[in-house]
């Protein structure tokens, strides 16, 4: 073989090597990409999760409603033929791949299973003789609250404005720490009984106050032994305007916690039309800071407690709060204070 032939030969070998490496690289990239998108796994997870949840609702000896909202808005759900079927609501080309998992029905109970496209939340509800699955809508009506005796003429109420000091909390149109601090200052004036707070409510700016850890807050709750704890916070979701009221579902005050949360929720619904208000039962020890302030483990006396996340810092609920850009001043009063939280607490102690 001549010198030129030798070079051509080596060039061919090199090209062959590069083609091999290229094929290998592309195959692996394709595989990694398919894992990264995880659509199939997510659909499998959702179908299994929903099928087992339906089995759980059937297993309940009493009537029950469960709300499911775990990242489901991109998918369509069908429940025909005893299968929880999940697929993408929109696909770029072709038909979506359907993934399903079976569940067991109770043939003694009627079924109303709707096809649900791109829901924010699915409600699975079992009543006496019917199991229904439908898209859950935002609650627009007030509900009956637990009828438990809670009258007290001189309760001790502890306010807990979240964050403060160097910790501003979420920041957007307003600063969370300053917003909830201003609300706490005004609530102090209008609440019944004796009002105490986890931090002093005499400063104009909460940034001037010392930092306060959850341990410090829990220490103050233990020291003052209040009858009620109201922890005030804001969220940061860009698009949603919602209120979440967290309660400790695992302490001795569960029924009273539910009553207080229910009264506050009803007031929010009455005052802010179309507002999405939810009560979430949590075990605060598992949620970590700052919701751990509801934790009463080891305390000799557990107060009734709610942790309220009011709207979000980009579009605060009350227009008067928005106008003040995070500094209400003592003269500014919002609906949240006068028409929601304070009356709900008064009603709780009536």
């Amino acid at each position: 073989m001549g010198k030129r032939g030798q070079m051509q030969h080596e060039l061919m070998i090199t090209i062959f090597d590069l083609v091999l490496i290229g094929m290998l690289f592309l195959s692996l990239m394709g595989y990694v990409s398919s894992i990264q998108s995880m659509d199939f796994v997510k659909k499998e997870y959702l179908s299994k999760d929903l099928a087992l949840l339906i089995n759980t609702v059937y297993a309940s000896p009493r009537d029950i409603t469960v709300y499911y909202d775990s990242g489901i808005s991109d998918f369509t759900f069908e429940f025909q033929n005893q299968r929880a079927t999940v697929y993408e609501t929109e696909v770029e080309k072709g038909e979506p791949t359907k993934v399903y998992y079976p569940f067991a029905i109770d043939r003694n109970i009627a079924r109303q299973f709707a096809k649900i496209e791109g829901p924010d939340q699915i409600a699975i509800s079992k009543s006496h003789d019917t199991l229904s699955i439908d898209e859950s809508s935002v609650p627009t009506e007030t509900e009956a609250c637990p009828d438990v005796y809670t009258r007290d003429d001189d309760p001790t109420i502890m306010l807990d404005p979240g964050h403060g000091g160097t910790d501003t909390g979420y920041t957007g149109e307003v600063e969370e720490a300053q917003l909830v601090y201003d609300i706490a200052k005004q609530l102090e004036q209008v609440l019944p009984g004796t009002v105490v707070s986890t931090r002093e409510l005499t400063l104009s700016k909460v940034s001037l106050a010392p930092d306060l850890s959850t341990e410090d807050r829990l220490g103050k709750i233990e020291l003052h032994e209040p009858d009620m704890l109201v922890s005030l916070h804001c969220g940061k979701a860009q698009d949603s305007q919602e209120v979440i009221i967290y309660i400790n579902y695992y302490n001795t005050q569960t029924v009273r916690n539910k009553k207080l949360a229910c009264l506050i929720k009803n007031r929010f619904i009455e005052e802010f039309e179309g507002l999405d208000v939810r009560v979430r039962n949590i075990r605060p020890e598992q949620f970590g800071d700052p919701r751990r302030v509801l934790s009463t483990e080891g305390m000799p006396r557990a107060p009734v407690g709610v942790y309220i996340e009011m709207g979000n810092v980009n579009t605060p609920l009350d227009s008067s709060i928005l106008a003040s850009k995070g500094s209400l001043g003592m003269e500014g009063t919002g609906k949240i204070i006068n028409d929601v939280i304070a009356p709900a607490i008064r009603q709780y102690y009536e």
Binding site: I13, L28, V41, E44, K48, L52, P61, Q82, A104, R107
Partner: protein, 209 residues
């Protein structure tokens, strides 16, 4: 081409084969490494077996006693009269009904403190008998069957001795019940024959999908 050229061509072919072999090995190793770190399956066996057992025990129309007059289920109180009869099994199948039978099967038996056995009864018996030998092997992957055994402490109730007022008190623990009975001057729980403490054993088989 001379002899030297032939040798060179053989060397090239051997070199190609080596390269392809090494490429395949690298590909497989990288593929397995990625796969071992990516979770592509959701294993619900444990949850599903537990859920099936609890549904058997708690759901209306399943194993626990149901009082239709007041629409109340007494979880953990098993009505032993007719246990395993055709009507009983029909009722059970209606309460937990899978369209596709090849999904779950179970054996349920009850033994009292005195060693009296009831059952076993079977949920989806044909598949149970077919799957049990497979479940006892160590096979994994598609086609294999996984097995879970659970035990519950229950109370057996005889329909002939129904006493709803007292049955309501059976929801607390036995000790609480005895104390309560002593307070109201009633009978001791363990001296009568209305309810009998027992253990319910369940063996649940679920094939891998």
């Amino acid at each position: 081409m001379n002899k030297r050229g032939d040798v060179s061509q053989v060397e090239d072919v051997v070199g190609f084969l080596w390269k392809i072999l090494i490429m395949i090995v690298v590909f497989v190793v990288v593929f397995l490494l990625i796969r071992s770190h990516a979770k592509l399956e959701v294993d619900t066996f444990e949850a599903e077996a537990d859920l099936f057992a609890f549904r058997m025990l708690y759901a209306k129309g399943a194993l626990s006693y149901y009082d239709a007059e007041i629409d109340r289920v007494y979880p953990g109180v098993i009505e032993i009269e007719g246990f395993g009869s055709e009507e009983y099994m029909d009722s059970l199948e209606n309460a937990i009904y899978y369209l596709d039978n090849s999904h779950i099967a179970a054996e349920i038996s009850i033994v009292t403190e005195d060693g009296v056995d009831f059952g076993p009864i079977y949920f989806n018996e044909d598949y149970y008998r077919r799957w049990l030998p497979i479940a006892r092997t160590f096979g994994t992957g598609p086609g294999a069957v996984r097995m879970k055994e659970k035990s519950f402490y229950v109370l057996l109730k005889d329909r002939r001795n129904v006493d709803k007022e007292r049955l309501a008190y059976l929801q607390p623990t036995d000790r609480e019940y005895d104390e309560l009975m002593q307070k109201v001057g009633g009978e001791k729980h363990y001296g009568d024959t209305k309810t009998v403490p027992a253990r319910m054993d369940m063996r649940i088989l679920i094939p891998n999908s």
